[in-house]
Point group: C2
């Protein structure tokens, strides 16, 4: 049991915004109270399903999941910040869910209202199990945050019904979800109930996936569906093209993929499944070494919101959905649960400080679905880049990303620590006060830091009684010369192969660890197979990836060059973008006047000196909209 | 009157291929005799329309235009190379056209067979006037090549009927074509008949276009069409968004646009229309200085096969339809007719030696519709690049490009010379023997050259009698130190502002001009606003733009660098690609082994030495398919 109370300057701002802005806004959205926005109808759908209101179903087939994600975010918010009024609102909504649930346990407003006789006839496209998964996750979180069982019981009833429907046994449906999600949720339900049947159902969904005869073809024939499937007519889209243990390349819809990998990793751990673990490791390598942007954005293709192929990472036409980076955090944490290795935590941190929170304006009022690494606003009018928005949008018809980000930010505390045997692992650095149990003993651990802007982290360790255990500190991959002091005395950094520094000692009350993680400005380059980035450099300091914006650097950012010897100055700008470290240095810019308006010529590229100012990528587009660029030419 | 007989090594090969391969192949295609290819049905449509066969219309709404373009290509082929058998085939086809023509002159198989009562109800989409235009062009060419009037008379009858249908007068349709083409064809019909009414109809179509109330909206209401128009619901697609004289940016479908500009230029000349001329000049500047690839490819967006916006010239996602570059040749020639300036002939030459003929395999058996400047075959599986084919295709459902290229190649002789007052202008260099009339006198002019591989051109001038006139030779913009000798005596190159060198003298039989156009290897760079090409260089020698191919340079071409001081060696390789000059020089390639499989690192880009071999762009993909690149990194 690890109870984390976040007390972090960086994350508290986000958590406050989520609590004060996003959760109320999303509640208004779910209730159709946002002027000039397309109605969500999600709450209305529930009322209609409950028989309390007349009307038709409206919205996406997975509209229910917005309700679920909101409830999950509320649960995490209550964990950190009790709020009677919010809890009452949630309780009322949960009561409504109970009334919308059918006699047999089924709970899905689309089918209940619109096609009551067609439950489970189109698992491939229609998201019933996906919505169930989100409700299960929310119910577990709400139970853990409040101790109230009502929601959990609703979902136990629904899940028990699902168990009666699915399986390879005679009379059951040998299917599995078109959009994976419930697999990982079921493991959470197992964790909280201890009921093996939920683990078994999760394992069934994972094991059955992609087997022959192919279930999606069976159900397609049964519903007499003759349409070729939109995604090149193949099940790579759902990672159902082959059994999961044979998969070694990330393909298809990125969020589906990573939710599945998350469940696979969790299952591998719970069931000690070596082949599943191996598949996870191969897929992890493929995603993070061949298909991931430096921001931890994943999914480079808009078509199918999908992975494409190794090293195909266009910066201006990518998809890199906020949800996919959120999912990457989930997966990374499950991989850490399987095996502690800093490569997982490094990616988790990369996603948290870059490609996830870039999805939201600093004020929590606007969101990106797509997180590009290069934006030329005019080019977003090109039909093939129309998915890349040059500014964040207020709400989406398919509103998956905002609530996904909300639940992640509010549960950030869940990602900081692991406890394993006699060891406490510190994966992330952020201010917090935490209580955890180690060998039956309560231990308090706290961090004070101004991470990610400052290299100092003070950890205080307070065991109930003097005792020997290990604290293992992750040394981030961007940091070459970490220093550690215990009670002001410098110790040797005993960094193991897995990237963690192990401190074995007898700990006593008020022991203090000081960690220094020097944050020099790093120039990062891509593997030469990433054609887009040849000759280009990205700037990173600590876990923060930087970008240049038009508002600081003028237009035509691809014309900027960073000389290889430029040293960047670091400034913490309190008033800028909520307080960020900016980088400034000497750069060059191509002189265009010599062209005299000609398009092609034998002119050489003459460069003139200019100043370059870079800001954290996640904070882009919070001032005057314009161009943005992560990968800058180097010369 | 200028009669050119081509005797050119470079073009004769293409003309032979067109005569021996493409024209027979296309005839088979029109007659559905190509195994495993989708049927064209074009001849069948004519037979059905003539009442000689039962059946349904099949094909695109503009299927007739394939027949027209084939006949036009045949006409040009007969000009250069009489062929009784081919002429008989054409005559039979023309007879069939006559039988398919309706009583009132109407000739369109789609409407005649499928919607006989709906003629002229959807000018926006349905190409009736476009097909008429192609038939008119073909008829004029066939008449000029053979002296036979039958086809011309068919089209005169049809055109006279069209005159009775269209106009702003009461009872007429105040419309104009959705796909411009007939405007330029009508001027050809005027030229050959001398009938002002054809010029007037062309002028009407041009003047009426884009006027309010908008005709496309009128007809849309009349046919109760409620669909929003696919192209952002705007008439930029057809260049009908505003009146043509107000247009100063090339927008919308590139072929429609350039066919229209071609007609505008021709009309401006015929009618001395200064405002139309001015509009043409503005559009020319926009196209050639902001929206044209170095290959003279135009139309950078697949959506709508269209222009996008200034400096938006992606190399790997462009459209650059073969037809659009063919059209650019038409337009350039009309601009030259308005005003002799080498800037027009330079673009004409650039299109002829690069972006047009790249559309065809050297053996004439396969074609590109899209002519990219960068190809990574694997990336052509990306949905947003699916229009970019890594290899030429055998035939297209929408088979516009192959016959368009065919008619261009067979009429190449039409683009070499102009006669104006007492001046003979030489726009292009290519072997030929030509008879022309100057001030009532017959003059023979001939060129001998191995252009574009060799810098020497020998022109012999043979007037009927000794007389004074001017020969103006275009000095190409890629040539800085042209030399001219007359009868072996070097003369001063009197190059005027318009880019032509004027030679005024009294010419006598067997006078000989030797022109030397030194062809150094030029490094071309793009205006810095072309973001794709910053820091990159293209190689050009004479009019030929070069590219590198995987077959010569290995994979991952974007990893190659050309050092700024590399000198390229020139080799004429007789056996390669039908005989081409190749360029070889020292280059560098990024060493990827240091990456150890990591995606991001602080490694610098270490480069190792390599040889770079470049071949003419037009000839790419005639060996082992693979990557191709025009714009190479420079360091």
């Amino acid at each position: 049991m690890i109870k984390v109370q976040m007390k972090d300057k960086f994350w508290s701002k986000y958590m406050d915004v989520v609590r004060n802005e996003v959760i109320p806004y999303q509640w208004d959205a779910l209730n159709d109270r946002i002027p000039n926005a397309e109605p969500s109808h999600a709450i209305k759908n529930l009322r209609i399903a409950a028989g309390e209101e007349q009307g038709e179903f409206y919205g996406m087939v997975f509209q229910d999941s917005d309700v679920a994600k909101w409830l999950e975010a509320v649960a995490y918010s209550l964990e950190n910040h009790p709020d009677t009024h919010l809890e009452e609102t949630a309780d009322e909504l949960i009561n409504l869910l109970g009334r919308a649930q059918q006699e047999d346990g089924y709970l899905n407003t689309y089918y209940t209202i619109k096609e009551p006789n067609n439950r489970w006839t189109n698992l491939r496209d229609n998201h019933e199990l996906y919505c169930a998964g989100h409700f299960i996750e929310a119910a577990v979180s709400y139970y853990k945050a409040t101790g109230k069982r009502k929601f959990l019981d609703i979902m136990i009833k629904y899940t028990d019904y699902i168990i009666s429907v699915f399986g390879t046994e005679e009379g059951k449906i040998p299917g599995y979800p078109g959009h994976q999600e419930i697999e990982l949720a079921l493991i959470k339900l197992f964790d909280v109930t201890g009921e093996e049947k939920y683990l078994k159902l999760s394992k069934y969904f994972i094991d059955q996936r992609g087997e022959q005869p192919h279930y999606f073809e069976i159900e397609e024939r049964e519903r007499e569906d003759k349409q070729p499937f939109f995604f090149y007519n193949g099940y790579e889209y759902h990672q159902a093209h082959i059994p999961v243990r044979e998969q070694d390349k990330a393909v298809g819809h990125a969020v589906r993929a990573i939710y599945m990998y998350t469940a696979m990793a969790a299952l591998a751990r719970k069931t000690n499944d070596a082949t599943l673990k191996q598949a996870c490791e191969k897929l992890w390598d493929n995603v993070t070494k061949q298909q991931m942007y430096i921001t931890a954005g994943v999914g480079s293709s808009e078509f199918g919101e999908s992975f494409s192929f190794d090293y195909d990472l266009p910066n201006d036409a990518c998809y890199t959905e906020t949800c996919a980076s959120v999912a990457l955090v989930f997966w990374a944490k499950r991989m850490l649960d399987v095996e502690i290795h800093s490569k997982y935590a490094d990616v988790m941190e990369r996603a948290l400080y870059n490609g996830t929170i870039s999805g939201m304006n600093l004020d929590g009022k606007k969101f990106f679905y797509v997180n590009p690494l290069e934006v030329w606003p005019q080019a977003c009018n090109r039909h093939d880049k129309r998915h890349v928005k040059p500014v964040r949008q207020t709400w989406f018809t398919c509103a998956c990303c905002p609530p996904n980000l909300t639940r992640l930010i509010n549960s950030i505390g869940h990602y900081l620590y692991s406890v394993k045997n006699n060891q406490i692992y510190v994966h992330l650095y952020a201010g917090n006060e935490t209580r955890l149990k180690l060998n039956g003993q309560n231990i308090r651990i706290a961090q004070k830091t101004e991470y990610p802007w400052n290299d100092q982290v003070i950890l205080s360790v307070t065991p109930e009684r003097k005792s020997a255990f290990t604290i293992a500190l992750r040394i981030p991959n961007w940091c070459k010369q970490a220093e550690i002091r215990i009670n002001n005395e410098r110790i040797h950094v005993n960094q193991q192969d897995n990237g963690y520094a192990y401190i074995d000692r007898i700990w006593d009350k008020d022991d203090q660890i000081e960690v220094l993680l020097p944050m020099s400005v790093k120039r990062v380059r891509s593997h030469p197979n990433v054609r887009e980035n040849v000759g280009k450099v990205a700037l990173q300091r600590g876990p923060i990836v930087y970008c240049v914006e038009e508002v600081d650097n003028g237009e035509n950012l691809p014309n900027l060059f960073v000389p290889i010897h430029t040293q960047f100055d670091i400034h913490f700008e309190e008033e800028l973008l909520g307080g960020v470290v900016t980088l400034t240095g000497d750069g060059l810019r191509i002189e265009d006047s010599v062209w005299n308006g000609e398009l092609y010529s034998s002119n050489t590229f003459q460069k003139k000196r200019t100043k370059i100012k870079a800001i954290p990528y996640y904070a882009w587009c919070n001032r005057t909209p314009g161009e943005m660029l992560v990968w800058i030419n180097e010369c």
